[in-house]
Symmetry: C2
Subunit: 154 residues, 2 copies
């Protein structure tokens, strides 16, 4: 029931945002929001588009448009990992985390570190208002490291 609840509250937040900003409450927007919130982990605009085709037909343009709105009201975050295409992720019900990006296979792992988080979140600037941050650690995952060591010995 917990998921049910959070989906409802997320819809409420979105509705409030749409009303505040005088945007229209279209069925497409709610369908996209629902899909985003029933998906765990990262997704691209393309993936979301394909995933939706089966039960609700929306254009890719609308996906992009709606993701933009969801970013604005902070119901999703957007990641740009190195060369990769933009990845999105729901925020509500997701613990704030950082990312390990393998530069060899592109795989992403998440990690949390309270000390780092606290330190960054408490940082203040005279000339700049921080609204969010992203910390990406790039490197090589275990699997790729083993792979590359194998190749060395050839």
């Amino acid at each position: 029931m917990r998921d049910e609840y959070s989906l409802e509250s997320v819809k409420e937040i979105f509705t409030k945002f749409l009303v505040d900003k005088k945007h229209r409450k279209t069925p497409e927007r709610y369908a996209i929001l629902e899909r985003v919130y029933t998906h765990d982990g990262h997704f691209s605009a393309e993936l979301l588009y394909k995933a939706m085709q089966s039960d609700y037909r929306v254009s890719l343009a609308t996906i992009y448009n709606t993701l933009e709105l969801l970013l604005e009201c902070k119901l999703v975050v957007k990641h740009q990992f190195g060369d990769q295409i933009a990845q999105y992720e729901k925020t509500f019900g997701t613990v704030k985390h950082n990312h390990l990006v393998c530069t060899s296979c592109g795989k992403i792992k998440e990690f949390s570190d309270k000390k780092i988080r606290t330190l960054i979140q408490n940082k203040r600037f005279a000339q700049f208002d921080v609204s969010y941050y992203s910390l990406y650690l790039y490197g090589t995952c275990k699997k790729c490291k083993i792979e590359s060591e194998k190749n060395k010995n050839k």
Copy 2:
């Protein structure tokens, strides 16, 4: 003379890398390296391409190819700030820093924080070898904040 010196050592590092990897030492590659290292701050592939046209004709493809090599041997770093196009930056002679990205005007400011840097650099993972990291703080710069407050009062 200090710059002179570092340019020479950077060339040596690049040469060593090229030889190790059995890549060819082409004049284009050195011309690009030199240009990169006489430029302060961020630059895009396009900018580098245009900047070089006046004194050394290289194709954009070669620029991309060479930047890839320079990334591999860590003589440059690549940034992907939010929606913006890829930005590059020399590493040698540049103090490690983090970035403030204004989501309104896109301007980038740099900042250093020893505590944050130390904390992140000392982080170790069992299944992952970190080779570098990027920390971007997104928000609104003073100028854009004043601008948006003006618009509110209309």
